[in-house]
Symmetry: C2
């Protein structure tokens, strides 16, 4: 655990400023919880109106304590909150948890107060949790600096799961759902407004707890991704899966998040890319976190996505197959031997291919599961198993089914999930430790999640190459013109169409002679980024005279528009089989971001693109391209050859290194279209726009 946070998660002493004898008050709960969960350190209630609180001596003030506590829990509200924090800082308290609301989430005035508290804390080397938080709870150490009602509703039990959440409500909900599934939870921490300590930093601390085998996060904004990245890196090293909710996916949700924890909006596709980049699996709500937990704790790390579906209902075979496809799982193709072995166990009208319908004959032969499962167990085509029991009851030996399934799972070591909505059926399977779900959608969703997450965590991770030294033209600001943009990219190895920037009609004619027909002639002005909308692009230019005339016409038009006349470009025509786009920008939170997708003039409207955070490999670009709606075109349609994905991927990787190498001087890069040819024919950029950062900074990422 990181040393800085030890004082909060494993404090030797805890002061409660505003302590109460009533265990249902915020100032009473933590004392009650610490007693109940065996906290071994010193507990110091502070309340000048009392001699004793819940069996502990009560103190009049922080100054009256016999020692400086590691952790102070500030329960008092209003003006007293800031005063208490100031006193903690002055006394040398290591960590303070501030419960009160009414700070950054309410507007500028509250934010100012919040900043003031943090400034005082930082100046004294004290860490601050909250404000506007439900607090911290470590059931390993018994240090419960929080007041969640849920710990009364659902009795805690120490276990291998850590929860770190901006929202107290969501930490309590995840905790309650996990406990309801019989799973133990060690850490339940809420960060509230994150004035100082963020989910990322606490996640880092919890990921270092060797007892934790699954880490669940809830975030409303990501302000400091580097801590979260560090947590994820450490988690991957020790094979600790992280499942995160990032709420505020929608515009309405982001607005609500701003009122809730004063959160700033993140661009949601970039959040997705960030999580993918760091091997974090994203879900929508605590239900999705809780329902997958048991599967992770079993240590399932499937090799692939090929599934065998088994049911006693033909309809459930059908729906299981449908749900497998919904979840991107493939039905395993069982070998001829496996099918023969299965068929020998089943009645004649049953189906021995996958999905395997053992039919209602299960009613008369309770041994069917036990007969059929071993027959498929050894087939190497199967990565995952799913047993769907939509109907059973009187006459069915469900206990035997459950024992057979458990023996099967133990023998294969492969994931086995069961769907059964009747408690009389689900219960016996659960009792055998089988991952059991109410329906095929959830069961297959979890299997697909574990398979996908395993692949994500194990994916080879690209390292930053030596970054190029990217220099903008002297005095550049705003947009570079097209010629400068293309030249900059070409310098760093991006393939661009041959072109010349011409300053006169004569130069245009000479350029045409050098470049040949058909040529493209286009005006070049940093002030006209969208040339074609102004009629400043001519395609298919066939003669040197045309080139000269176009120079005159475009030059005159730029003059009439009153924009910078940087010249006229004469360029070679380059066609591909499809137009793509590659873009890059500096995200204010996440730094360099690369976008690759369908190109052309409708990019903004259709948004068929994938987001990647550098560094990434060519393979990752190729995988990302597979998520596009135009992905079927990559393989070639109607007899066309496949596209040169490798060449496009090279460009995307290079653009990532260029924007990173610019070290803050480039705000964005937009290559559109990138003409991609058939495999082996390469890709070439025919238009580019580089945007300089407003105030060039010297930082790096």
């Amino acid at each position: 655990m990181t040393d800085l946070l030890t004082s909060a998660l494993q404090p030797r002493s805890v002061a409660i400023i505003g302590a109460s004898d009533n265990i249902h008050k915020i100032g009473g709960r933590p004392i009650y919880y610490m007693q109940r969960h065996g906290y071994q350190g010193a507990v110091y209630p502070i309340n000048p109106a009392r001699e004793e609180i819940q069996g502990h001596k009560s103190y009049a003030s922080l100054a009256a304590l016999p020692e400086v506590p590691d952790l102070a829990l500030v329960v008092v509200g209003g003006d007293k909150t800031v005063a208490a924090v100031e006193e903690c800082a002055a006394r040398g308290v290591k960590s303070a948890v501030v419960i009160a609301s009414g700070f950054g989430e309410t507007g500028p005035e509250g934010l100012e107060l919040q900043r003031h508290m943090v400034a005082r804390a930082r100046a004294a080397g004290m860490r601050l949790y909250g404000p506007n938080t439900q607090g911290l709870a470590n059931f390993g150490s018994g240090a419960i600096a929080g007041f969640s009602t849920m710990f009364i509703e659902v009795p805690p039990q120490d276990g291998p799961i850590g929860i770190v959440s901006q929202s107290g409500g969501m930490s309590a909900m995840a905790y309650g759902l996990l406990r309801g599934r019989g799973l133990g939870v060690r850490h339940v921490h809420a960060t509230g407004n994150e004035a100082d300590v963020t989910v990322g930093e606490l996640a880092c601390a919890v990921a270092h707890d060797p007892e934790v085998r699954l880490l669940l996060l809830y975030l409303e904004s990501i302000a400091h991704p580097e801590m979260l990245a560090a947590a994820a890196a450490h988690a991957r090293e020790r094979d600790l899966p992280i499942i995160a909710i990032k709420a505020g996916r929608s515009a309405g949700g982001q607005k609500a998040a701003s009122s809730h924890t004063g959160s700033l909006a993140n661009e949601d596709r970039t959040v997705d890319a960030f999580f993918r980049h760091h091997g974090i699996w994203r879900v929508r709500d605590p239900h999705e976190q809780a329902r997958a937990a048991q599967a992770y704790l079993k240590g399932w790390r499937p090799e692939g996505r090929r599934i065998v579906v088994i049911s006693n209902s033909g309809a459930s075979c059908v729906m299981g197959a449908d749900a497998a496809e919904d979840n991107g799982l493939a039905l395993a193709e069982l070998s001829r031997e496996t099918q023969a072995a299965v068929a020998s166990k089943l009645p004649g009208f049953a189906t021995a291919s996958n999905p395997i319908d053992i039919t209602a004959a299960l009613l008369s032969n309770s041994g069917l599961f036990g007969d059929v499962l071993p027959a498929v167990a050894q087939d190497p085509a199967a990565d995952l198993f799913f047993i769907n029991i939509p109907v059973a009851g009187a006459g069915y030996d469900v206990q035997a089914f459950a024992r057979d399934a458990a023996a099967f799972e133990a023998a294969t070591g492969k994931p086995v999930a069961v769907a059964a909505w009747q408690e009389s059926v689900a219960g016996p399977f659960r009792d055998q430790g089988i991952a059991t779900f109410p329906n095929e959608g959830e069961a297959l969703g979890v299997l697909a999640q574990v398979a996908g997450h395993t692949a994500l965590m194990r994916r080879p991770r690209a390292a930053w190459p030596a970054l190029p030294a990217v220099r903008l033209p002297a005095g550049a600001r705003g947009f570079l013109n097209e010629a400068d943009s293309l030249a900059l990219l070409a310098r760093h190895g991006v393939p661009t169409a041959p072109m010349r920037l011409c300053r006169s009609a004569q130069e245009a004619r000479e350029a045409f002679d050098a470049i040949g027909a058909p040529a493209v002639v286009k005006a070049c002005s940093a002030e006209v980024p969208h040339k074609s909308e102004h009629g400043l692009v001519a395609l298919g230019v066939q003669t040197r005279e045309q080139a000269g005339e176009l120079f005159e016409r475009f030059d005159a038009r730029m003059a009439a528009m009153g924009v910078a006349r940087d010249g006229v470009i004469v360029a070679a025509t380059r066609k591909g089989r499809h137009e793509f786009m590659v873009g890059a920008r500096i995200d204010p939170v996440f730094g360099p971001v690369v976008v690759v997708g369908d190109g052309g003039k409708n990019v903004e409207a259709l948004k068929d693109c994938a987001v990647l955070l550098p560094p990434f490999s060519q393979d990752e670009v190729a995988q990302a391209l597979r998520t596009l709606r135009i992905a079927p075109l990559l393989d070639g349609v109607r007899g066309d050859p496949p596209l040169d994905v490798q060449a496009l991927a090279d460009i995307a990787v290079t653009v990532g290194t260029v924007i990173a190498g610019a070290r803050g001087t480039i705000a964005s890069v937009d290559l559109n279209p990138v003409m991609v040819g058939a495999a082996g024919d390469g890709a070439v950029v025919v238009d580019a726009l580089v945007e300089c950062a407003p105030a060039p900074a010297g930082g790096s990422y």
Copy 2:
């Protein structure tokens, strides 16, 4: 209820062929169930080995009965099944339910036996249910000609829901889930292999039961859509919602369905279109059917999709807003007055805009719900209400919250859904009759479903216009060539680009003179439907000489290819702002089907299209276009004007009447591209391909 099926659903007498004294055997269950559920007709067990069965006199044979029973339940298997059905038919039994498996679902031999049974039944005017079925159950009349174990597991209660299913397992599962929610169910019918009576026909019968207020279907194939359409039409008339599962959505699922009930595959997008066309809502599984049932039974028919989200947790406000967007619901914009009224009830740091965060202050003020709800009740901006309570417990007066919510729902008459995963919270809300769900995804999913389904059921329904008399050229077969295809469509009012079919270079030059530059020149051969792949299309032809030369070149190339040389087309160039496609085909099950979507050469690969069943209105086409991935282009991008959706919709409507008017002589129509201009500029078809039906039939749809 349709008379034909009355003998099965309300029989005056029931014979059980293969009756048993053991209530856990298939031949014992129905007798037990009929006694238990007060069946008033005569029950005739047939079993030659017994004198009495479950208190009824047992008969040696059908012939020995004192009367011909309305309904015979055939429980005997193997060879005896067919013999029993033959005897029933011979004796004049009105309906027979055949339980045994081993017929159409096993292959050609079983299918032959099945056909034989149906033929005998039909010849005698007897209706057949099954084979391979779990049977029928009407808890209104007590006539239970089925053996589902689920009726023992979960005690029946008559109620307003009907279930009709191909699968016995799925009917039992839907039944069990509904009963588990405390809802009463009247009809639970399974059709199995549907040798004679289908889900559609039974649905029609059940839709005529005036007590039924919600109808749930499970289908693995739709062989006779007209019965289902009739059921849906009657249901719409009496405002009876139908929620259907059509399993076998995936290739794997369709294969499994074929093994299960011998089902033939339906094209899944056409199934979607069929359901939409008839106002049937499609879901994936019985859980989705059951979870929405209460909302329908409340009679919710919301006017719109604008929702108010209220929670005691800021995070749940955020996630509620996200889930609203996931489900296509809009956050209602509350009036200034409403917000002021809400704000006056809440603590200062709470949020009075939508979503409304009443905060953890609810803990100290249990009246907050009751205070806030009336403040929003009268805002006309709200169609739907959602209360999200992720955490409550000791100290919260949940009973009061539930009472306040129920009073609110009663006062507004508008849908109110609650999400609460803690049983201690959900219970009191459920007890007040509030629709309560475990999480925001399900709650908002159901609200969105009811809103969407209401709109679908209430949508004005297009009527067939007088169909045109569509005549193919004499002797036409296979594909018509492009000129004939375009001419046929133009005759029926589809706008096509001006063109001439030329038989000589001289004709081509004259055509160019008439049509003007730039022209398009393309080879015309019924045997070369994809001309451009063979280099047989020239765009931008500028001179009459070029047109003549192209004639010679294309004619020579067709000769070299050895294909029919129907001539060379000289056509006017027509451009639009976007290329669309309109297609039509005769589906073997559903009849005429129209497809409209993104055009160009990648249509097959990208499949960005919508399916419509005629007759449909221009408005329905416009709505369907909104579901395309390219929908954002309809409004115009980057300053472009919106597209002429009306003109495109006109073409789609016309194509639907043309293929219907062809009365089976046209197999398919493919218009691609259809050039669509800016609003008011129209749309024009520049290429067309009409395919003749293999053996022209004279039928109509």
